[in-house]
Symmetry: C2
Subunit: 334 residues, 2 copies
């Protein structure tokens, strides 16, 4: 069942059938109806490989997701997928290991598949600076900023990570905490953690204190296990912290578990703030105070910027979407 069968059965040529498939003008109403009818009756679906081969070789939008366990990315992905679906665009998702380099994967993918566009969930700014040049299709980096990198086909959508982190730490300060530990990510410049740690440091500095990175910061990856180990290392080194700010809900969740295992409790003995605002924080015992990222806006803006690029409507943009400190049960007022 291919386009020639449809042409034959409808009594038109393949060119006309193709125009109908693609909703192009210059087809009589009569022809359109007849062809649609035949296509429906045959359950015909055009061969995507052949289409993509001809249409300057484009396959569907590709999304690259760093890590599989991140609930935030799952939430955003759902938005992106449904937004794209409304425009008739498919989305093909590829998960990357934490140690895979998103950009070189994308370069390889572009050469082999020529996607219409690409989306990166959780990429690292510095990797883009170094490796993005060969990429020509419209791209959007989500949850990190690509501002200042100067690639005309790379947009980004993120919250103000530094501001959000500053607000989280400011909240702890306002509750009387003076010695605050920070958990998670890595300080390599260009990683999103760097912006958040900078925000934490700024919040302390503005209040006449300072973040002692050597002592009060403990990196780890974005997983329960990461948070579990990190808070233990931190507390061993800095037993006087009264609060920890985890750079992800999943880290906070692991940290709460570890604190309990140390025979201490949250928030009575130690306060915890997370980041992301996922269901994990909302349903944990205790509910975790966190920075909620607006996942709906993150997804919507990503789709809008991507479509703009795919339609050649020019220019990239770097947008900020909202966040909100959600006060729950894991912070104690001292």
């Amino acid at each position: 069942m291919d386009i020639r069968d449809i042409a034959e059965r409808s009594g038109y040529g393949v060119g006309t059938v193709s125009r109908v498939i693609n909703g192009q003008p210059n087809v009589s109403e009569r022809a359109r109806e007849r062809i649609l009818e035949v296509m429906g009756a045959c359950g015909y679906e055009p061969n995507a490989n052949a289409r993509y081969l001809k249409m300057r070789s484009q396959s569907p939008v590709a999304a690259f997701v760093m890590g599989v366990g991140n609930r935030l990315f799952g939430d955003v992905l759902r938005e992106i997928q449904s937004g794209l679906a409304r425009e008739g665009e498919d989305l093909s998702v590829t998960y990357l290991d934490d140690d895979a380099t998103e950009v070189s994967e994308a370069v390889r993918y572009q050469r082999a598949r020529h996607p219409k566009g690409m989306v990166f969930l959780g990429g690292e700014t510095s990797a883009f600076r170094d490796g993005f040049a060969p990429i020509e299709v419209p791209c959007v980096l989500v949850t990190s900023s690509a501002e200042g990198l100067g690639f005309p086909n790379l947009s980004s959508v993120t919250i103000d990570n530094e501001g959000a982190a500053a607000e989280a730490v400011g909240h702890l300060w306002g509750c009387g905490h003076r010695r605050i530990g920070v958990l998670g990510g890595s300080l390599e410049p260009g990683k999103v953690a760097a912006a958040r740690v900078a925000g934490a440091a700024r919040a302390l500095a503005e209040r006449g204190s300072a973040l002692d990175l050597e002592r009060d910061y403990e990196p780890c990856d974005y997983s329960e296990e990461g948070g579990y180990g990190a808070v233990r290392r931190l507390l061993e080194r800095a037993p006087d912290v009264t609060a920890v700010f985890a750079l992800g809900d999943v880290i906070a969740f692991g940290a709460v578990r570890a604190i309990r295992d140390l025979g201490r409790s949250v928030p009575e003995d130690l306060s915890v703030v997370g980041f992301d605002g996922t269901a994990l924080a909302r349903y944990a015992v205790p509910r975790i105070t966190t920075i909620r990222q607006d996942t709906v806006a993150l997804g919507e803006r990503t789709v809008a910027l991507l479509l703009r690029g795919m339609r050649g409507e020019g220019g990239c943009a770097h947008e900020l979407v909202g966040y909100e400190l959600v006060r729950q049960e894991s912070v104690r007022r001292l």
Copy 2:
């Protein structure tokens, strides 16, 4: 940069270059080396759309995942993706809404893309019975069984859901619980929940008791929110239950939260058992006793069965992989 460029620069024909790309025999060692060298120097990557168009129109293996928030599926997906990668196969993931029908999506996808194979994470047996017939590529249903459906190209890999549920409920019984509620899923035949509820009923029956579906079972979807609402409805109707068996960790997690909000505690006032053995259960406060599904085996066997189908090595199979009751902190001995 296409295959003709490589042919020209290496001094061979496109046929020979193609044979090198595909690792076929009948190429001299000299030609192979030279062509590989040129390809490397040019950073050439064959156009996947053109390849797939020729090779009986096959695009990469497609995975359909029901819902985005399911950690179990994320864990299995990671295994499948890395197993496939070892064989040089890509994986393209599509998330489906809970209300989307996996099989009709797959039928449409097959017609448009002609994937080499398809994997379903969390599909529903009855949907396959009714709609799978048009599908011709090798497929594997994961976490549900397709045994007895009689499709020669549909394998399945799952744990013994009924047995696992029986063991979970048996454990509660052994701890002295007599009135046990069951939370989650839907009883429509062919859904995985039906097998688990059947296991729960069997466990009670074997002990001279019975599961009163009307009173002691409360369906909900696989989410924290689902579990949160379901346990409240259950407790209102059956305030004398001393334990609940949730058909997913995420449901158990939501239920624990709801129980706390009702001013009761786990496991002192109410015991909870989950299902899946995800990080959620492992790090929750309290840690949730659960049935751990062997996600590594689930992924490995899926890849093995899929490759067997893709290589035409005949036959489908329906395999069971292991599970294990993980006793943690959410069950109290009465």
